[in-house]
Symmetry: C2
Subunit: 375 residues, 2 copies
């Protein structure tokens, strides 16, 4: 069932193995990916409790030495402090340059453990075994890693390509409904920026996807990871085109931050895509039919499309301006041209400056109201 | 007078400009190196007081926007905490992805500011203007950056190639005598591992070098930087041959740490080279004449060659074992074959395992005693 891709990203080789039963091949794949003597498995407290012992046993049965390192579950722990603590624990455990890091978990874990691997002794090999849909299709390919700081998400980090990404839908059986939907939001993003046909397919598969039907999930994983991989290969260091993966994320990240991370990443991105599709349409960059198509698909997948009632547009834009996507202080957005295609910009940056007045108007229109005039 | 090299290290271009009056060309060189809108100058409190305003003025006169960020001087501030604080200050100042970092200072600053640049928004361009001899010849070329942690030096960091390295001996006029000698220790190391002729030349130039005679300093800078650059180019990610730059550093780092950094890096490396030359000779790896030649040259340059009285060999080896050069828990050293050549190892690692019993014996022999039987 599993499909395999060998990506050469920025001079580094990354093997991506996706699909049912991939997990059975983990130990030999790890051995092939890095000639490491020991594997430091990093997982959050929740995933460690669910899968930690089984993973240790799997590696040891496969003839690999392994130890498990935990950090408290939750985006609020994707911090420099968690990174420093894990680093110190690896040092104390005698993990040397001949070791490698295996990140086991969702996007918080792949980001945090990836940053540990990127900076530990100036970098040790990394393998990712994502356990959430979001991490499988979004966080696992591309080499981005990092942590949040008080001023914003992912403002500190690195590019550190994993040697191996292994995405087995087996892990999705223990995923919460909310986490499944979070992943579906990123799948919608991938389709929206790059594949109109896949976007249409998602629209027909909502009930099967929400029921986690294996065939539907396998198809989704394969398409989404292919889109992510193609985009990353075109621009490994995010100097231009890769910015299109930020569609929905300028507003999305700001909303997450403004809510103190009470709004999940997927929900925030879903709302962010709706808002940014409307922004693009209002600015004449995006096909005027796109916002409704996005909203329909998201609603069908049980995802929100409007900013929470009472959202302060000024505070949201200020939070977005603190984000790293600003250039020269002007707020810029990755926007769609139409469903299935991102909009290039004249300067090659693939982002578009939107005047604040226009943004405020659109934010007001896309905020949920007690008695809304919904489209 | 200035010589220029354009190095392509791991796919990144790094321009290295060395010599008198190079500083006059800084602004145009920075503009060429990175199309940055703003430069964040990072300097320690001491260098900021000496050169900060002049550097700001130089950049602004050259048409570049610049701001100065300070951290407290001293190796004890090359920490994750300083890195986090500087990062937060850059964010608060609105430094975006269109900015770049200029590290102005010694090795502590190039390491720390380099790590800020490597991880800020997942990496922004970096230029280095080293102000100490040690930083000019050692810290500036190669892309290594990082911070110290309680368990040891440089255990956290990254490889982030600078776009520009500009080494102007003008800065050496304000250098302390002790800092000058620290740099000379690394110059001895470069000669010892790669250039017997330069090693002999250093022996004849000690008085002129200690008097900072411009011609002698220029020649030293040019040779040392050439050796460093060649070694780095041969192995940009320190997977093999680059390990020879660690000659003197396994014991050197351990001694620094054991002393609570009371022993300076250069002095520690001078002692480390003497000890590791003796270790290599005792293990049959190093020409038996090398230890005396090393000791003679170091002594002529006013550098120490013996471990401080009362050094606890066990504690020193334990501190060294905490260092990142261990493999499989065995302590390994980069050793000389003879003056002017490092010793390769069968496994391509360019490091050599030395049994602890042998190391203890040599450590005892190279420890300073009240009534020493000096060679």
């Amino acid at each position: 069932m599993a499909t395999e891709r060998l990506l050469a990203i920025g001079g580094e080789e990354c093997r991506v193995v996706v699909g049912r039963r991939a997990l059975l091949r983990l130990a030999p794949l790890l051995r092939e990916a890095a000639g490491a003597e020991r594997w430091a498995i990093i997982a959050d407290s929740r995933v460690a409790a669910l899968h930690g012992e089984a993973m240790l046993a799997r590696l040891r049965e496969g003839g690999l030495a392994a130890a498990l390192f935990r950090f408290p579950a939750g985006e609020e722990h994707k911090t420099r402090e968690s990174w420093a603590r894990l680093t110190d624990e690896l040092i104390a455990a005698g993990i040397g340059r001949d070791a490698a890091v295996l990140a086991l978990g969702g996007g918080v874990t792949t980001d945090l453990a990836g940053f540990v691997a990127a900076t530990y002794l100036r970098g040790v090999p990394l393998a990712l075994v994502p356990t959430s849909l979001l991490a499988m299709i979004d966080a696992s390919v591309g080499g981005k890693c990092g942590v949040d700081v008080p001023a914003g998400k992912n403002l500190v980090g690195a590019f550190h390509q994993p040697r191996l990404v292994l995405a087995d839908p087996e892990f999705l059986r223990t995923l919460s409904e909310a986490d499944l939907r979070d992943g579906l939001a990123e799948a919608v993003k991938h389709a929206a920026i790059a594949d109109a046909e896949h976007f249409a397919w998602l629209g027909t598969q909502a009930p099967r996807l929400l029921a986690r039907e294996p065939d539907a999930i396998d198809t989704l994983l394969d398409h989404s990871i292919a889109i992510k991989a193609e985009t990353v290969l075109a621009d490994p260091h995010e100097r231009g085109q890769r910015a299109i993966l930020n569609f929905g994320h300028t507003i999305g990240h700001a909303l997450e931050r403004l809510s103190g991370y009470a709004v999940s990443h997927g929900k925030a991105v879903a709302i962010g895509m709706s808002v940014e599709a409307a922004l693009g349409a209002a600015a004449g960059v995006t096909d005027p039919d796109a916002p409704a198509a996005i909203a329909r698909l998201l609603t069908g997948l049980g995802l929100p499309t409007r900013l929470p009632p009472g959202t302060d547009a000024g505070a949201l834009l200020e939070a977005a301006a603190g984000d790293k996507k600003r250039r020269n202080g002007t707020l810029r957005y990755a926007l769609l041209a139409r469903i299935g295609a991102a909009a290039p910009s004249a300067d090659g940056a693939w982002t578009h400056a939107i005047p604040e007045a226009l943004a405020r108007r659109v934010l007001a229109e896309t905020t949920f109201r007690a008695s809304p005039a919904r489209p």
